[in-house]
């Protein structure tokens, strides 16, 4: 087990290194002089000189990378020349919102998907199973930007529930009630897609697990249906679910932009889109780096959870 985790950690360091090279090189991939890319074409020679000094742009590229990564490791992602604020502090202000959104949406998705999938799997092709399968297909086919617009239209505008509309965001610590009401609709929106995914994965794995001989053996021990479902069938069925959740949550971190942008929630996604719009490449670079590392960490965490759930994985 320890060996397995250590091996994964070494891999993790390798992947993070590759990501850092990628994000560093992002600036150099864009056409033209990096200073022009960062400052824009109308920059004064004085500003260009400052930037050259700050990034070491006249040094060889490998040396530039080490200067840059050294700064990054000290928490210094540079200072945006567009907004004159430090990239790190902008990201620090934005990322808790992403984490909260992901947390809320995933709690909702799991809370709905797990019990419903377990029920469905008990009688495959039964009434409940067919209803849920049809319903989840319908949900799957509606894109999130339609769901959020519909939700805002119905809940905020038609029903007139306050604070659920766009641009009403306050942080959890300053006013948690307003915070939760303003995050309710985007959380539900993000939860629907996750719910469909989790429901379908767990349902099919549960159906397969319930055919296993060890389930028959559990029955022959005189255990209750409930105990068989939760103690015997759920754990071996949840391996694929955890893998899916890892990828999906990583995807939400990197791709929850649309909902944030539509509702004016100033998370990383919103900030990234604004940064691209204003050609703030240092900020783009910083967010790309943070989000990529976040995705890798989330996947690492879920791999670890999977190996806890199924002891066969870490043994090989």
């Amino acid at each position: 087990m320890l060996k397995y985790v250590l091996r994964r950690l070494i891999m993790l360091v390798g992947i993070v290194f590759i990501i850092s090279v990628g994000s560093f090189y992002l600036i150099h991939l864009l056409p033209g002089d990096p200073a022009t890319v960062i400052l824009g074409t109308g920059a004064s020679p004085a500003n260009r000189a400052i930037l050259y000094k700050q990034l070491g742009l006249n040094k060889p590229i490998i040396e530039q990378y080490f200067v840059w990564i050294g700064n990054v490791l000290h928490g210094n992602l540079g200072t945006s020349f567009i907004s004159q604020t430090s990239v790190a502090s902008t990201i620090r202000a934005a990322y808790p919102i992403d984490l909260e959104l992901i947390f809320l949406s995933q709690v909702l998705a799991f809370a709905a998907a797990i019990p419903l999938a377990m029920r469905s799997a008990r009688k495959p092709n039964g009434l409940l199973d067919r209803l849920l399968s049809a319903g989840s297909f319908t949900l799957l086919s509606i894109p999130p930007f339609i769901i959020i617009v519909l939700l805002v239209l119905i809940v905020s505008i038609k029903l007139g529930v306050a604070n659920t509309g766009p641009s009403s965001f306050v942080s959890f610590t300053s006013n948690w009630r307003v915070n939760l009401t303003s995050l309710a609709l985007p959380s539900i929106t993000l939860a629907t897609a996750s719910f469909v995914l989790y429901f379908r994965v767990l349902r099919s794995d549960m159906i397969a697990t319930l055919q296993e001989e060890f389930i028959t053996m559990a029955r022959s021990k005189g255990l209750s249906q409930r105990r068989i479902m939760w103690r015997h069938a759920f754990r071996p069925s949840s391996v694929a679910l955890l893998g899916t959740a890892g990828v999906n949550i990583g995807g939400l971190l990197a791709g929850g932009f649309v909902v944030q942008y539509l509702l004016g929630i100033p998370g990383l996604g919103y900030t990234l889109i604004s940064a691209i719009a204003s050609s703030d490449y240092l900020l783009v670079q910083g967010i790309v780096l943070v989000v990529s590392v976040g995705v890798v960490l989330i996947n690492f965490f879920f791999d670890f959870l999977t190996s806890l759930v199924d002891p066969r994985i870490s043994r090989e």
Binding site: F214, T216, M217, G222, L223, R315
Partner: protein, 332 residues
Amino acid sequence: MSERLLEVTDLRTTFRTVTGSVPAVGGVSFDLKANETLGIVGESGSGKTVLARTIMGLQPRTNVEVTGSVLLNGHQVVGASERTMRTMWATEVAMVFQDPMTSLNPVMRIGRQIDETLRVRLGMDRRAAHDRALELLTMVGIPSAQSRYRAYPTELSGGMRQRVVIATALACSPKLLIADEPTTGLDVTIQAQILNLLDSLKQQLSMSVILITHDLGVVATRASRIIVMYAGRIVEMGDTRDIFYHHRMPYTRALLESSPKVTNTPHTRLAVIPGRPPNLSTPHPGCPFAPRCAYATERCHVEAPTLVAASAPGHRFACWNPLTETDHPEAR
């Protein structure tokens, strides 16, 4: 005469499939006394496993029709609800499954799998169940039970796993143990160990055992009576000696001849039964073995034989052209 623990009367298990109904067990009657070991022998697909699961009431409820009667210690199993069966499983009847690789939960420590039966069915507390589980593991011959208690099934060999399955089945001291090909998935050297273990536990715990196998050698010294099944029906039944030395049904002989003997000279060609077991979904009016039988006559193909009594008490066979009682070259 000891009391009858199990009475099976005209038991039929029919699977409804998209291509028609399949009579996997087609009218089986037998009984079993307390402390008796009964062997059920037949090829793959002869209905042994379905019969065992039907006797236990473990058959899935959908698309299966069960008729007849199974009286287990006075309780009717046929038609009983899962809730009723739950009160009988583990305490009245338990099963040792065929493949210990798949019958243990791969993500649950083996100790827990024994524990939970004790706690759920006998109401033991955590401590008592833990101690009893250790006793059971020791009883089935698992060395250093204390450390094995926390092992996952994948950390044990096949033989060890089958011992765990046996320990689980015996946890609540069932009156009847059904062992469904308990050694098929194991190495030959382990097979004898497991069978001897079952034998000695049977004596120790005074229970009845139904030993299901495709290998007559397995039941030869262990069962007092043997049932030979073919195509879901009993084709011959009787005391073990009668089955081995005075069998009347050609199929029984074919089974005996197809297992290798120590006395064979090297490179002796093993007798095989030509053809394959019948497809049960297409009804056949005659004896199901007739297409493969060397003794088959016109009558065998059109009229199914019923079980008739042979000379020895309790020995019955279903055949129109039975072997004569003296026609047994391998009788020793």
